[in-house]
C-alpha cells in the first residue's frame, strides 16, 4: 500500500475492488478505505453479503417420487442398450 493508493479517488478504488477482493487480499487495509467512509461502508456491505451467502439456501429434500422417475429412466436406458446388444446391426451409443 502506497501513499498514492491512499490518495486515489473512489472511482479508482472501486475499479480495483473486484480484483482486490477476489485476490483474497484484505481490502480493509487499503489506504483508501482508511480515509473514505463511503468506500468503507461499501466494502462492509459487500463483506456482509458474502458472509450471509454461506447461510443461504438450506439443504432441502427432493420429492419422494423423483427416485421413481430416475429409476424408470435408468431402466429405459438399460433396455435400450440391451436391445441394441441383442441386435448387433443396431447402432448403439457409446
Amino acid at each position: 500500500m502506497t501513499e498514492d493508493q491512499g490518495k486515489m479517488s473512489c472511482a479508482e478504488f472501486q475499479a480495483q475492488l473486484p480484483e482486490l477482493i477476489g485476490s483474497g487480499a484484505n481490502a480493509a487495509n487499503h489506504p483508501h478505505i482508511q480515509s473514505c467512509e463511503l468506500c468503507r461502508a461499501l466494502l462492509a456491505d459487500l463483506e456482509t453479503i458474502a458472509e450471509a451467502a454461506r447461510q443461504l439456501f438450506p439443504v432441502v429434500e427432493p420429492p419422494d417420487e423423483l427416485w421413481a422417475h430416475i429409476e424408470s429412466a435408468i431402466k429405459s436406458e438399460d433396455d435400450h442398450v440391451n436391445a441394441g446388444s441383442r441386435n448387433p446391426g443396431t447402432p448403439t451409443r457409446n
Binding site: 477476489g22 463511503l38 459487500l46 454461506r54 443461504l56 439443504v59 429434500e61 436406458e77 438399460d78
Partner: protein, 230 residues
C-alpha cells in the same frame, strides 16, 4: 429435459456405464482442480464400489446419500422447483452412466457435485441464459460503474441481512450473475475453478461476482427502504 414419466419398473442390476451419453466436460478432466480426496464414509465407499459393479440397490443407496445436496444445488442454481427436479434426475442419470469412470482422485461427493454443476450449466447454455453476459462483464456498464455508490445515503446494511430478502434478491439476479454468486459465495468454489467451469477468465469471474454483490446490495437497500416506509 423432461421427466421420464413412465411407470416405475423393478430395479435392474445390469452394470452401469454401458449406455452412451454426450460427453460432458466434467470431473475427469478437472479432478485435480478441486478439493483433495477426503476420507470416505465407509457406507458410501461400500455402496460406491457395489454401484460401480452394477448393483442397482447400491446405486439407490448413493442416491439416498446425495439426493438432498444435489437437489438443493440444482434448486439454488435455477430457482425453480420443476426444473431442479429435472436437473437432479439428469445428474443422477449422468452418474449412472459415468460411475464406472470414477477413480477416486477426488472425494466422490466432490466429483458428483461437479458433475451436477455441469448438468446445470449445460441446461443453462441450452436455454441461452445470460452466461454470454460473462463476455460483457468486463465492459463498463453505466449504471454499474464504480461511481454508482457515490453520495448514496445510509450505505451500511447495519451488519445484518434478512435471509429471505437476500434469497429473493439472489433469485432475481440475472442468470449469469446468479450462477457465479452461487458458485463462489454459496458453494465455495474459487475463481480459478469457476473460470474453468464457465470457460471464462478469472478476472471475468471476479468482476461478475462483484457486480452480482453490488446488485444484491442495491436490492437489499431498496427492500430496507421499502420496509421503513410507513
Amino acid at each position: 429435459m423432461p421427466h421420464s414419466r413412465i411407470p416405475t419398473q423393478p430395479p435392474d442390476s445390469r452394470p452401469p456405464g454401458v449406455s452412451g451419453a454426450a460427453p460432458l466436460p466434467v470431473p475427469a478432466a478437472r479432478k485435480m482442480t478441486f478439493a483433495p480426496a477426503a476420507s470416505p464414509d465407509p457406507a458410501e465407499a461400500d455402496a460406491l464400489a457395489r454401484a460401480q459393479a452394477g448393483d442397482h440397490h447400491a446405486f439407490a443407496q448413493l442416491y439416498s446419500l446425495h439426493k438432498r445436496r444435489i437437489y438443493s444445488l440444482c434448486l439454488r442454481m435455477v430457482g425453480n422447483i420443476a426444473e431442479a427436479e429435472d436437473l437432479t434426475q439428469e445428474a443422477f442419470l449422468q452418474l449412472h452412466r459415468k460411475i464406472s469412470t470414477f477413480r477416486g482422485d477426488s472425494a466422490f461427493s466432490t466429483w458428483l457435485h461437479r458433475l451436477a454443476i455441469n448438468v446445470v450449466l449445460m441446461q443453462l447454455r441450452k436455454k441461452s441464459l445470460s452466461l454470454i453476459s460473462l463476455d460483457e462483464a468486463m465492459e463498463p456498464v453505466p449504471e454499474e460503474g464504480p461511481g454508482r455508490s457515490f453520495g448514496a445515503p445510509d450505505l451500511a446494511l447495519s451488519g445484518t441481512i434478512d435471509r429471505l430478502a437476500l434469497e429473493r434478491a439472489v433469485a432475481d439476479l440475472p442468470a449469469g450473475y446468479r450462477l457465479i454468486f452461487i458458485l463462489h459465495d454459496v458453494e465455495g468454489y474459487e475463481h480459478n475453478e469457476i473460470a474453468s467451469m464457465l470457460e471464462c477468465s478469472i478476472g471475468n469471474s471476479k468482476s461478475q461476482l462483484h457486480k452480482a454483490r453490488l446488485r444484491l446490495r442495491d436490492a437489499l437497500r431498496a427492500n430496507s427502504q421499502k420496509e421503513a416506509q410507513p
